[in-house]
Symmetry: C2
Subunit: 113 residues, 2 copies
DNA sequence: CTCGTGTATTAGTCAAGGCTAATATTGACC
DNA sequence: GGTCAATATTAGCCTTGACTAATACACGAG
């Protein structure tokens, strides 16, 4: 068995097992980047595991309806939110279970009294 | 006791208890935004709970030394990383325990085989 | 069909972030 | 002091992202 090149990579070897060929990093990074915006994070925390209409979100978050709609679009495009249309209204819920876990931990970490 | 206004805020009320007056949101958002960049997330996963030198990071991550240094600066300025200078080299470690938890969950969620 | 409500889309402007390349700093060794 | 290695900093350019304002679309009521 040929000896592996002994470089500074030694410390990173287990990383490359855990993290993979950058795919996981990219996916996680994309999800976090989508969550990281203050308004979007607020939206996600507001929704939680419920199903919330756009109007409720607009009222609770406090910015333009257009702005909210755009942020919802970002979250939807990232596969984070799912939208259901009922008559006039549109209801959003968190589609990605992983995001729910992240939200839960974020609350636990940053919102502990 | 005066009745609380029954508006669309109803669904958000527990949110405002959990999330607070936006302070927590801002803090969490800032931390996530700092973590969310692909290279920075890679750096954080690489460091984990160890103490790693800049050179090791540069070798493992694979970009310019300048670029790495700038990203390390961002993470340090956010209080996420702590740097220790030893002679010529600088070693970084994760300072914020909350970030370690986030990294752990991120790995668990996005890197499960 | 038209009107009002709820939501989405578009265009335009502005600020922020990331990368490169070059240069500066720091410390060890001779 | 001079030089090399490790790290940090700066300036400049370019891309991306966020907000506003206006407009468009969808749907139910009448």
């Amino acid at each position: 068995m040929p000896p592996r090149k002994a470089t500074a990579r030694a410390a990173g070897d287990d990383i490359f097992e855990l993290i993979g060929r950058g795919e996981n990093i990219r996916e996680a990074s994309a999800a976090m980047q989508a969550m990281a915006h203050p308004l979007r994070l607020k939206i996600l925390c507001l929704i939680g595991n419920q199903e919330v209409s756009v109007l409720e979100i607009v009222d609770a978050v406090g910015t333009t309806q257009s702005n909210i709609s755009q942020h919802l679009g970002v979250l939807r495009d990232h596969g984070i939110l799912h939208s259901r249309k009922e008559a006039n209204k549109v209801f959003y819920r968190v589609q990605d279970e992983r995001i729910l876990k992240m939200i839960a931990l974020t609350r636990e970490i940053f919102c502990s009294t």
